[in-house]
Point group: C2
Chain length 210, copies 2
């Protein structure tokens, strides 16, 4: 276990694992995909290429084994026992896959907030052009957000899509346990976008009752 | 320019550019994405990672410049003066993007063949579940294929989706000039899947009148 002193020291104890991004020489304050990547990420990419060069069409067993390790890490991080993880290149792709599975003809209504990142926002804008009803609940005040979302959920609703940390304010969404229950009672899917929370602020699937 | 003798020689003149895939030591007869990758592909990937490590959020100008070179190469290969190229991770993603732009409520009909690869086939299967009419014209006999497709194009049709080389037979589709004209006359989009043709059998956008 690292100590705070080791992290406060300059260069700190993690810096040696981020040599390529030279974090010992400069301050990088951006988050998630914009942050420094560890040197092992380059080695992993090179290993992936070498596996393809060596094994060609027999590479997939090795690729799926590594993908399995990534999924298992997410499950541990989220304290999640289900283990169902779909990996994708970006959030647009994952949102499109989710939306493509909904019965939008029978349930032509989607509920979201006015603080969603561009992946969800843009895809829902497009569905609105085709006549799907998009209900955008104001994310603030946070204290009443879950109650206001619950009021909108009905039998015509296909899904609720919401961030757990809002990208435009940095505010953390309250626990979504009651929203999950309300969705389950009405046969509504719940998508929680963890992009701005994952590996920054702890998120516990079990504690949240999800 | 390479001579046939240089290519027939063993190891042939290209083998030195494919050292990682050891093409001088073994025969690789598979095509397109399954074929040997040149060593420069690994160097390109490493360069991409190093650009991210060095320039972080200022990497994009460099990434878009390289993407521009890729697009220009496709344009040259296809003898295409338009220069409109969307790059994607895989054919599913590109097909979904194309389908998402169609006015399927006003034109709930798509025409395709019974010999399309799984990316087009699977996405159209899903749209059929939502009530979109999918017309699957038999790809054979080839001699009458364009005429049989043309008969199906009407004002309720949003698009025609067809391969230029059929993955299940290896047969080359006849020129699609007349189908393109019929589509244009009816406000119908035409998607031609070149996956099994590109860089194997020449395809000339200008000659085909596309």
């Amino acid at each position: 276990m690292l100590t705070a002193d080791q992290l406060y020291h300059s260069p700190n104890v993690l810096a040696e694992y981020y040599r390529q991004f030279r974090v010992a020489e400069r301050l990088l304050l951006t988050g998630h995909s914009h942050q420094a990547w560890p040197d092992v990420a380059l080695h992993g990419m090179e290993k992936c290429w070498q596996d393809a060069a060596t094994h060609i069409d027999d590479k997939w067993e090795r690729a799926f084994a590594v993908a399995g390790q990534v999924k298992a890490s997410f499950a541990t991080l989220l304290h999640d026992h289900s283990g169902y993880y779909a990996l994708g290149q970006n959030s647009h792709e994952l949102v499109v896959r989710f939306l493509s599975a909904l019965a939008l003809r029978q349930r032509p209504r989607l509920i979201t907030t006015d603080s969603e990142f561009h992946s969800i926002r843009r895809q829902l804008d497009r569905l609105a052009e085709e006549g799907i009803e998009i209900v955008r609940v104001p994310s603030q005040p946070l204290a009443t957000l879950v109650a206001r979302l619950n009021e909108q959920v009905n039998s015509k609703t296909a899904a609720v899509l919401i961030s757990s940390v809002f990208y435009d304010s940095g505010l953390i969404c309250p626990p979504l346990t009651e929203l999950m229950q309300r969705c389950e009672q009405n046969g509504v899917e719940l998508l929680i976008d963890l992009y701005h929370q994952l590996n920054v602020v702890p998120f516990d699937v079990e504690v949240q009752g999800l």
